[in-house]
Symmetry: C2
Subunit: 339 residues, 2 copies
DNA sequence: CTGTTAGCGCGTTCAA
DNA sequence: TTGAACGCGCTAACAG
């Protein structure tokens, strides 16, 4: 059995309260008894029960994070990167991290939120991949529960979020393709119930329009952000009667899949067809050819949303409840001849 | 404020005890009062406090998992995959998952273990990337705390683990390279304080010996499992006076780095130099050329170690405390001409 | 300086 | 069928 305050109290011959205060560093304890208590604690190997403290303090010093997974598994390096940022920042503030993996919009996801929030299992939640009319946000707002979202929810501008300007990101990418002379530019989008998908799509459209190009539905496909989906979509696009000469893609993983499809069709990426991604996951630079992409600082994003959340929880003033980061276009070989 | 049993009790006009029993599904409650209580719970939006339950039950229904990260960030897709397996299995059993990210052998890592274990924050721990004389294992065994390791600890055969036969895995890979006619085969190893690194290295050596090849220290480099380290090591190997014609690598991420180095030196991987990996992360199949590698079922491993741990925690009999999975060699183009 | 009392929210005797 | 009392481990207010 674990050693408790009571054990120390008995061992030393004082009350539990005194032990608590001695260990808590209060100065209203006689130096001699304090020494005895400290020694006993050491000997017995005392360590406070986190659970008991949580109950008493009515705080858990824990952050909840439900990772949306498409299908049973997930392997988007995006999340390892994000998790690292969140985890390290949490550790810096002595917060723990409670992680669940659930598929989006599933009853299981909803249940996870109820359990973490209503069960007072955590002090705040991080929400990622914000969706249109996101039930998670409605839930959290209705509960007045602290949270920070990565990704704006268009319906709601008064809850805290950090986002990346996906519109401008995709605008830059497509603009770049147009500058390279492409006139037939396809787009592989993320599912349109994700708010970031809408922004990026609009960036694509606006760049087309500004470049004097017509938006053509035939050239826009949707994939669930996996390599496989990018692969499938690219195959379909490249099989068109008038195939695109360039494909902008909503994330790197799908872009890698698109590159594979192009290879399979005997095309040389960067020469016969241009491809761009979004995220700049570590592997983008090491793809073959290296992937031109729109970089968002994933690790930093994780750090920042975690920091924002902890500030909200601890009641520190937040200089800004809404943060928009500018992504940057990283030119590599997949979009065309070396720059 | 959150709704508690007390609130319901007051609302209905019964004692807290009765409410607790009614909600707990005990049948020694009058049907009418039960109805009243259920209705009140519904109306008030009652949800039990997880923390209070944990304290009372002396169980947390939570599993701890400290991810070893080299450097501040980590992006090995290996861990997303593993985490997905662990997370889904935990969910299946209504267990939560507490995740920390710490660099191996750091004071922070040790502190995390103390906090989770001694603070009775979790009911069991998952340990990955077992090290030689692993302080984490000593700690857990000394505490008699439930845990399962992914990776054997050679010093200790009596604690539960699941492992993959890395010796045989690397043996197969090198054997394959020898069969292709290679006589000068290098190896990029993992740090030798990781137990799996020793097994894989030995597999490499045994395959060499059986093939009548001499072990040459010059051909063995060590990297910290990152793409960058594989890149560096391969560059050094390929710069030798008598460079290798084949490079076996201890994990896929480093193998991808090695491929990049080969490209940079104007070599065509699969023709001028053969490269093999280990893991079969999703991207291995989509590398250019696709990576010949030793597959270990990462998602499944996560599921299994989590399942084992939960069985240990709940006291269910475990058919086997030591599980060794056989990895399989996946032939693709990076090792040589299409098979 | 130290102990008593009380309470965090819940579950489990034991009596009535 | 119900409630009072107690304990999980800890902290805080209040007396002394």
């Amino acid at each position: 059995m674990a050693v408790t305050l009571k054990d120390i109290a008995r061992h030393v011959g004082v009350s539990v309260t005194t032990v608590s205060r001695a260990l808590g560093g209060y100065d209203d304890v006689a130096e001699t008894t304090r020494q005895k208590i400290l020694r006993a604690a050491e000997e017995l190997g005392y360590y406070p029960s986190v659970t008991a403290r949580q109950l008493q303090k009515q705080r858990t010093d824990t952050i909840g994070f439900v990772i949306p997974t498409f299908g049973p598994r997930f392997s988007d390096p995006f999340f390892s990167e994000l998790l690292a940022g969140i985890g390290n920042e949490a550790a810096r503030h002595n917060f723990d991290l409670l992680v669940c993996t659930r598929s989006p919009d599933s009853p299981e996801e909803e249940e996870a939120y109820r359990r973490l929030v209503d069960g007072r299992r955590v002090d705040g939640m991080l929400v990622v991949r914000t969706r249109v009319d996101d039930p998670r946000l409605s839930f959290l707002k209705q509960r007045h529960f602290p949270f920070v979202a990565f990704g704006r929810s268009h319906a709601d501008e008064n809850s805290p979020y950090l986002d990346v300007d996906g519109h401008h990101g995709l605008y830059q990418a497509v603009r770049h393709l147009i500058d390279l002379g492409h006139r037939r530019i396809a787009y592989i989008s993320a599912p349109l119930n994700l708010t970031f998908a809408l922004h990026r799509l609009q960036g694509y459209r606006d760049a087309l329009q500004e470049g004097g190009l017509k938006y053509d539905e035939e050239l826009v496909h949707v994939g669930y952000l996996t390599e496989e989906d990018g692969y499938q979509a690219a195959h379909r696009l490249l099989a068109l009667d008038r195939p695109p000469t360039a494909i902008a893609v909503a994330n790197d993983l799908m872009a890698l899949g698109a590159m594979r499809a192009a290879h399979e069709r005997g095309l040389t990426v960067g020469r016969d067809v241009a491809i761009t991604g979004f995220d700049d996951i570590p592997l983008a630079a090491h793809a073959h050819p290296p992937l031109t992409t729109v970089r968002q600082p994933i690790y930093e994003i994780g750090r920042r949303i975690c920091q924002m959340l902890i500030q909200i929880i601890t009641g520190e003033p937040l200089d800004n409840y809404h943060l928009i980061l500018e992504p940057t276009l990283i030119l590599r070989q997949s979009s065309g001849p070396a720059q």
